[in-house]
């Protein structure tokens, strides 16, 4: 990675380290905003709130299993949706696409007797085709995604009912496919009370967190860029470790035969994968660029049509997968599946800090936003609040969360964290005016930065 070809150009001296309170946000990881910090706090607060009110039922292992299994599909949708929204679009069709793919998969297993893995792939392929269809209209014809996917919402809802004859199709009992939606990791037992797979998973996660932090610090030091202060790194790792260990313990001590659910594992893998994609890859950078200012992106050589096409295809494939998880969990696909999912996913993304105008948003933030809704739903139903009132409360939460954000922006970022951070940096802004010959400064610029090949 850090080949020596670049050292011919003396690396810039990193600015002197200063303590910045703003680095508190670094505890959240890459590119997180104060908003995400806030939403994570809100999630913790809501969990504690319901934990107290329900007399400990919220963090009960069985409830946690329900929470994960019952919401994984929406959270996965949020992962795809945030990319669509960052790119400046929206996808209203995800619920219908999920339902359409669901019925195709159910029929392929029940009537065509496809092996579960083949059925899974078939469903994803159908999702990709649907995505290519919608992506074509959005990216190459230029019809706004709102319209294209509104049409898609009708088309694929109809397609679900057309294919399924407006009735439900059940999976044969005991089909392996079900493990996608309601499966658990194996448990070798060995006479231990805890589920060993979950414990191992937790341990691996803890190890990964620690190693990743160490690798990142080393990389940053080599690149000569600013290092996150050690205390922040330690605190971040410690918090993550405690959360992971705690969660592993809760999931591991569930009823016999249960573990951290397969759907949860899938979710975690997707979150990690897509976070990496959005933060570290060229395509990820291009998605932000298109959403932030597509004209500038186009003139910078970004193939915006391809980016838009990719985002739409990706969303539909994810919707297909969510539909499959739903079918797996319900062991059936019906004409009413997936109604309203798009709205849940969109709400999660906006609670998680994305901007309606595009260019802003994160995967982790959106999933946390989705968890806020999920915990709220779950806690309220544990408390016996009826669904009418639950809807009202959810609506208010969405409005207040985004409203607070808009309000704080309109006040020109009064966030204490932001202020302290900026203030600490003040003096550097005062570069003295150039002397008589500005050209004295070396302009022999950065020539090769490695990697460019030619």
């Amino acid at each position: 990675m850090s080949d020596d070809s670049t050292t011919s150009e003396p690396a810039q001296k990193p600015p002197a380290r200063r303590f910045r309170l703003g680095e508190l946000r670094l505890l959240m990881g890459l590119q997180s905003s104060g908003r995400q910090f806030g939403i994570l706090g809100a999630l913790v607060a809501i969990i504690v709130f319901f934990q107290v009110l329900t007399g400990g039922k919220t963090l009960d292992p069985i409830n946690l299993l329900n929470l994960v299994n019952g919401n994984a599909y929406v959270l996965i949708l949020a992962v795809g949706m945030v990319l669509v929204i960052i790119a400046g679009h929206i996808d209203l069709s995800v619920g219908s696409v999920a339902a359409f793919v669901g019925i195709v998969v159910a029929i392929s297993i029940d009537q065509w007797h496809l092996p579960w893995a083949l059925a899974l792939l078939l469903g994803l392929a159908v999702g990709a085709l649907v995505g290519a269809w919608q992506g074509f209209w959005v990216a190459y014809v230029g019809v706004p995604a709102f319209i294209v996917t509104l049409a898609g919402m009708l088309i694929f809802r109809g397609a679900n009912q057309f294919v399924g004859n407006s009735t439900s199709v059940s999976l044969p009992a005991g089909n392996t496919f079900a493990f996608l939606g309601s499966g658990y990791l194996p448990d070798p037992a060995w006479g231990v009370q805890l589920n060993l797979s979950t414990v191992v998973l937790g341990a691996v996660a803890v190890a990964l967190v620690v190693v990743r932090e160490a690798v990142r610090r080393r990389g940053a030091r080599r690149a000569g860029s600013e290092l996150v202060p050690l205390w922040a790194a330690v605190v971040r790792v410690a918090v993550l470790v405690v959360v992971i260990a705690g969660a592993s313990y809760l999931f591991a001590k569930g009823p016999a035969g249960t573990s951290f659910p397969v759907s949860g594992v899938i979710l975690v893998v997707l979150v990690l994968g897509y976070s990496f994609l959005s933060n570290r890859t060229v395509i990820g950078r291009h998605i932000y660029a298109v959403g932030g200012n597509w004209r500038a992106a186009e003139l910078s050589g970004v193939k915006i049509r391809r980016v838009n096409f990719f985002v739409m295809v990706n969303m539909s494939v994810i919707a297909a997968f969510a539909g499959e998880m739903w079918v797996a969990r319900a062991a059936a696909s019906g004409p009413g599946d997936g109604i309203g999912w798009e709205l849940d996913a969109i709400a999660a993304v906006f609670i998680g800090g994305a901007a309606v105008s595009g260019g802003i948003g994160t995967i982790v933030g959106s999933v946390v936003g989705g968890l806020v809704i999920a915990v709220l739903n779950n806690g309220l139903s544990l408390l016996g609040v009826s669904s009418d009132r639950v809807q009202i409360i959810k609506g208010m939460v969405l409005l207040v969360a985004v409203g607070l954000d808009v309000y704080s922006k309109s006040r020109g970022r009064p966030s204490i964290i932001g202020r302290l951070q900026r203030r600490a940096l003040a003096p550097t802004a005062e570069v003295p005016p150039p002397d008589k010959t500005p050209l004295d400064t070396p302009l022999d610029m950065p020539v090769e930065h490695g990697g460019s090949g030619s």
């Binding site: 990389g219 000569g224 950078r285 500038a296 193939k303 600490a424 005016p433 002397d435 460019s452």
Partner: protein
């Protein structure tokens, strides 16, 4: 309290406006420290200073964009201490700002725009007759001959600005603030505007004008305050002949500029880039050709000017060559190093070593949500990425080296570009395109709206790139700038290249004639 004028008693009459000891801090930056200015009734007061000197901040304090309480110091207007809560409350007492970016709605008519927010109504219904009558009066006053029902989008920049002023007059303006009003205007429109400001002065309207154009200041201002790094350096009376260009420049940059253009020994090589018979259609009206069979060429190490008025088709020509980014291609060929190349989009142009620095840096040059480092690498992401993965360290290294090499004033490369001043944003855009290692760099009005010191630096950067063997195409409406740094100048008028002059043969008169008339190659020889 309002009777005393700390500024050397130019007038005995109490000033209409006094800003006293204004200080304003932003997180991390002290934008203004203890600045005082005073404007007499019916006076035109100029405010000059480099980018980031605090001119715009001062005006925002005055207009209430930065409300009372967010700054220190007093605003005394018409003898009363004012505490503006927002733009609304300053406009209510007759202080109106004309921004660089107009606040007009393109789809609405002139009349609708003038009265937007202050409609003339009768019984809750808009009185169109009265509005149109009044609009015609106002248009006559500002010297704009257009039908009041014309949609704003059909007007050029200069005329839009006149509509803005008409709107201010409708609001019963007593103090007009103009933020670089002529930055986007051509010579004739600028002169018209300046005359208009002088005309308003005769009607008792005071003005504060922010301008980089020193000749304008000399022409219309009564007095001038020079800001530097948030301090008021001095206030001079223009009418008392205390002012000359050198003095203003010295005040702004803290030094005197020996020359406005850096010295350079051009080393010009072979023709390496050639456009032949280039024809492009207008994107909206296909029957219109924005350029027809135009040809031009660039040599290695050469700085080629493209002179023309706003709207002459310079930008359109350049953008269409840059990967057909404007209009629809009809015919024409591009040769680089003798081989024909086809550029279907911007990414292919970049791959062939062509870069285009847009005249509109916020709309086309930058993603304002990005930070400095992301912006610098945004057109050359491939250089800091391997197998589709962005290498964080490489990105930072690249950004840091441009930051110091181009003297980009920013607290860090993690700062959002939206928080930089205009000149520094422009340097970020330059860095972004330099990072693509261009062989041909097309610069569209690269020094517009930036101050003298930054201009000088940007000229230096351009010359440096030429010295390294790149070809430069410089699009500009400022003739002195073209004459100052180009080796050769093409003139363009209504989409047609009208002349091709070595800079030694060019003078402002020839250029002006070639950019305002159609006669091809007739102007010289």
């Amino acid at each position: 309290m309002s009777a005393q004028n700390p500024q050397a008693g130019i007038d005995v009459v109490p000033p209409i406006l006094e800003m006293r000891g204004i200080s304003k801090e932003f997180p991390g930056v002290k934008a203004l420290s203890d600045v005082s200015i005073s404007v007499g009734p019916g006076q035109i007061h100029a405010v000059a200073g480099e980018n980031g000197a605090g001119k715009s901040t001062l005006m925002k304090v005055l207009s209430g964009v930065h409300p009372y309480g967010s700054y220190r110091g007093d605003i005394v207007y018409e003898g009363k201490l004012q505490r503006f809560r927002g733009v609304g409350s300053s406009e209510a007492v007759g202080i109106v700002t004309i921004h660089q970016e107009f606040a007009l709605i393109p789809e609405l008519s002139i009349t609708e725009n003038i009265f937007l927010g202050s409609e003339i109504t009768r019984g809750g219904v808009i009185d169109w007759g009265e509005e149109n009558r009044r609009a015609e009066e106002l248009l006559a006053l500002v010297g704009l001959r257009e039908h009041p029902a014309t949609p704003i989008k059909h007007l050029g920049v200069g005329k839009q600005q006149l509509v803005e002023i008409a709107r201010a007059l409708h609001k019963d303006v007593k103090l007009l603030i103009l933020d670089e009003p002529t930055a986007t205007l051509n010579g004739a429109d600028s002169q018209h505007l300046l005359d208009l400001i002088l005309g308003l002065k005769d009607r008792g309207v005071s003005s504060i004008i922010i301008s980089h154009k020193l000749n304008e200041i000399e022409q219309i201002a009564d007095s001038i305050t020079i800001l530097r790094d948030g301090h008021a350096i001095e206030t001079l009376s223009v009418k008392a002949h205390e002012v000359d260009e050198d003095r203003i420049i010295r005040g702004m940059v803290g030094r005197s500029l020996q020359s406005r253009f850096p010295d350079r020994q051009p080393r010009i090589g072979e023709v390496f880039f050639e456009v032949r018979d280039w024809t492009v259609r207008h994107p909206q009206s296909p029957e219109r050709l924005v350029c027809k069979n135009e040809s031009f060429s660039v040599r290695r190490g050469e700085i080629v000017g493209l002179a023309g008025l706003m709207g002459a088709g310079r930008t359109e020509l350049a953008m269409s060559v840059f990967g057909r980014s404007y209009g629809s291609y009809v015919s024409g060929r591009i040769f680089k190093d003798g081989r024909e190349i086809v550029l279907n989009d911007a990414s292919e142009a970049i791959a062939h070593g062509i870069a285009y620095v847009s005249e509109d840096r916020t709309a086309l040059g930058l993603n304002l949500l990005d930070d400095v480092k992301e912006s610098v690498v945004s057109a050359g992401l491939g250089k800091v990425a391997r197998f589709g993965l962005v290498d964080d360290g490489e990105e930072r290294r690249a950004a840091e080296s441009y930051r110091s090499g181009l003297r980009i004033k920013t607290p860090s490369i993690d700062e959002g570009v939206s928080r930089l001043s205009g000149g520094n944003q422009q340097k970020v855009v330059l860095a972004k395109w330099m990072f693509t290692d261009p062989e041909l760099l097309i610069l569209d009005e690269p020094t517009r709206g930036i101050d003298v010191g930054a201009k000088f630096e940007i000229y230096g950067i351009i010359q440096r790139l030429a010295a390294q063997g790149s070809g430069i195409v410089l699009i500009s409406s400022e003739l002195p700038e073209l004459l100052g740094i180009c080796d050769r100048i093409y003139t363009i008028f209504e989409g047609a290249i009208t002349n091709d002059l070595a800079v030694a043969d060019a003078d402002p008169e020839t250029l002006m004639r070639s950019i305002t008339t159609t006669q091809k190659k007739a102007a010289t020889r």
